[in-house]
């Protein structure tokens, strides 16, 4: 039988057995959709993690977080006693540190001319632009004198420009941060969302001294970043910084750190573990779903062979050889799984696209992933069809027609 006739005949047969075809297709659809989704989103997440790590750490740095380890939810609100003086002392003690910036954070409500928004306020030093590699796109960054005098000057992100000023020029305007008036002196460079899906353009940066005294009323900071001049010395510098901080906090040997040091390599390692979940285990789980779909398909095809014994007999009588019968059932199984796979790719891609937009992952759809999904669906379908098909082909025409 020619391939085109086989295709035509299989498609007709699928149409004649809609319920069975639909059941097989749903399995394949779910499996391939899941696979497409996790691979596409996984790739996007992976890229996003690498970008974020680069954004946070730059080429070479050490980040100190007050309190214990907490990577996922940002700095702890009840962070222990980490002060600007601690960081200044550590920076002075470690020659590899070329620059540093303290940071304290607070969630506030912001008002301006009747518009209200909720935003994150970061208190930072005048060196923040260089240390965190994020400066202003309009206006000016505050300077050392502003920090010294605890001036009420603020840099705001583009989301706030939109929400509070409807896109109008915010420079020079006065905004109320909680109950404290600030003057907008600059607009922060666009950042996008970070790993947690947080909008980093919905931020206000003010002098850390102003934040500590006027908004948060604390003496401590939550995070600090120390730039290391030579990437090769990063690990050594981190160890020296740890020692300096431990001695300032008078920690005895055996006592745990009351701060956490993050270095780019450690963070990459940690993210690597999370990545493995996304790029290995989730796809594996989807493949298992596809395998289950294949088993269901095999069972349904076996049922189809039983239900269509007379048809098999007739086909043999009118000129089908055993190989034709086998091919027919393999083709039916393969085409059904393939059809489900095609729909699954559409569904999975759409879902991936939706999630990617929410998490700001950029383009995530990949032709390779789509082809992989299709190939797996096809192979599963072929395999699922083999056993029932062989059984169908082995039926003797006399028995089938009885």
């Amino acid at each position: 039988m020619s391939p085109s006739r086989l295709l035509r005949d299989s498609l007709r047969s699928l149409r004649r057995h809609r319920l069975r075809s639909a059941s097989i297709m749903i399995g394949s659809l779910v499996g391939v959709a899941a696979l497409t989704f996790v691979l596409d989103v996984g790739q996007g997440l992976r890229r996003k993690m690498l970008t974020t790590v680069q954004q946070i750490f730059g080429d070479s740095s050490v980040v100190v977080v007050a309190g214990g380890m907490q990577l996922v939810d940002g700095p702890r609100p009840d962070a222990a006693r980490l002060t600007i003086d601690d960081i200044a002392a550590a920076a002075a003690a470690v020659p590899a540190v070329v620059d540093w910036d303290p940071q304290q954070v607070q969630i506030v409500s912001v008002r301006c001319a009747g518009n209200t928004a909720t935003a994150r306020v970061l208190g930072q030093s005048e060196r923040a632009g260089k240390v965190w590699a994020r400066t202003v796109s309009r206006g000016r960054f505050f300077d050392a004198a502003d920090v010294q005098r605890r001036e009420r000057v603020a840099l705001i992100g583009e989301t706030l420009v939109r929400d509070l000023f409807a896109g109008a020029d915010p420079l020079g305007a006065e905004i109320m941060v909680d109950a404290v008036p600030f003057t907008v002196v600059g607009v922060l460079e666009r950042f996008g969302t970070d790993l947690h899906g947080m909008d980093r353009d919905n931020e206000i940066v003010v002098p850390v001294s102003t934040l500590m005294r006027r908004l948060a009323n604390v003496d401590t900071i939550s995070v600090a970043k120390l730039l290391i001049g030579d990437p090769a010395q990063n690990a050594a510098a981190a160890a020296q910084i740890r020692e300096a901080l431990r001695s300032r906090h008078a920690l005895l040997q055996g006592q745990p750190d009351d701060f956490t040091l993050l270095t780019p390599s450690e963070v990459r390692q940690l993210l690597g573990k999370m990545q493995r979940i996304v790029t290995v285990y989730l796809p594996l789980a989807s493949v298992v779903v596809l395998l289950v779909a294949g088993l269901i398909a095999a069972t349904l095809m076996a049922g189809a062979v039983n239900a269509r014994v007379a048809e098999i007999g007739v086909r043999r009588a009118i000129g089908a050889c055993p190989a034709d019968i086998a091919r027919q059932f393999v083709a039916e199984s393969a085409f059904t799984m393939l059809g489900g796979g095609l729909l699954g790719i559409l569904l999975g891609s759409a879902a991936a696209q939706l999630v990617a937009r929410r998490l700001d992952l950029g383009a995530v759809l990949s032709l390779r992933v789509a082809l992989l999904g299709l190939a797996l669906a096809l192979v599963t379908g072929l395999l699922a069809g083999v056993v029932p098909a062989l059984r169908a082909a082995r039926l003797r025409p006399v028995d089938a027609l009885r």
């Binding site: 004649r16 000129g319 055993p322 003797r396 025409p397 006399v398 027609l401």
Partner: protein
């Protein structure tokens, strides 16, 4: 056309005595004949039919079809042989229930080597008087109409031999008569027709009646003039 020599078919089952379904059948059937194979159930008539149709293999003996030893062909070659030379009609019609009349009739074209002539299925259905039922499903047709679809399917590849196994067994007398008329007409146009039946009135329509009993040919009569009278009787 068909030469059977000492055809035997023995079924052996472990733990049971072998059953001789056919115990040495020799027959010659010429092109253009209208033959009824009759016998009681278990006589071996269906086994004989299956062997002539290459749906079953003889355990011994020789079967030549137009000088080809078809029993010696491999399965694929036998399938091609059936597709090209034989048309089957079954008691239970055996139509694909979810396919239209036309799709059912075109099924054998699927397995014929070269591209079939356009409209072959439609012409076959017209030949059996079902030109207006092309797209009906079997469930939408009467028993007689279903059997005519099955005959159209048997004819679509223009076979030389038509094999019918109790073709009227599931039909009311009127439809049965119509089907037998159709077989007669096909036979008049030169097709060889072999039908298996246990019904004397059906057998009476054939020109030659071969009676099988206990796996052997019990009688073989050519009744050239008798069949017209018998036909009056069935009415």
């Amino acid at each position: 056309m068909i030469e059977l020599e000492d055809i035997e078919k023995t079924y052996t089952r472990p733990g049971a005595a072998p059953v001789h379904a056919l115990a040495g059948v020799s027959l010659h059937i010429a092109s253009g004949e209208f033959v009824a194979i009759v016998g009681t159930s278990g006589s071996g008539k269906s086994t004989l039919m299956n062997i002539i149709g290459t749906l079953d293999q003889p355990t011994a003996g020789r079967y030549r079809f137009e000088r080809t030893d078809v029993a010696q062909l491999d399965v694929a070659a036998q399938a091609r042989f059936r597709n090209r030379h034989l048309g089957f009609v079954f008691q239970a019609f055996h139509l694909l229930p979810r396919a239209s009349a036309l799709e059912n009739v075109e099924l054998p074209l699927l397995y014929s080597g070269n591209e079939p002539p356009a409209g072959a299925g439609r012409r076959a259905l017209e030949a059996v008087g079902l030109a207006d039922r092309l797209h009906h499903k079997p469930t939408e047709l009467s028993g007689g109409q279903q059997q005519r679809v099955a005959i159209a399917r048997a004819l679509v590849n223009e076979p030389t031999l038509l094999l019918a196994d109790e073709p009227t067994g599931n039909l009311d007398p009127k439809s049965a008569d119509d089907i037998l008329d159709l077989f007669e007409a096909l036979n008049r146009n030169g097709r060889t027709v072999i039908l298996v039946t246990h019904d004397q009135r059906v057998a009476a329509r054939a020109r030659r009646v071969i009676r099988i009993d206990a796996g052997r040919v019990a009688s073989d009569e050519v009744r050239d003039f008798a069949h017209t009278a018998a036909r009056e009787e069935t009415r």
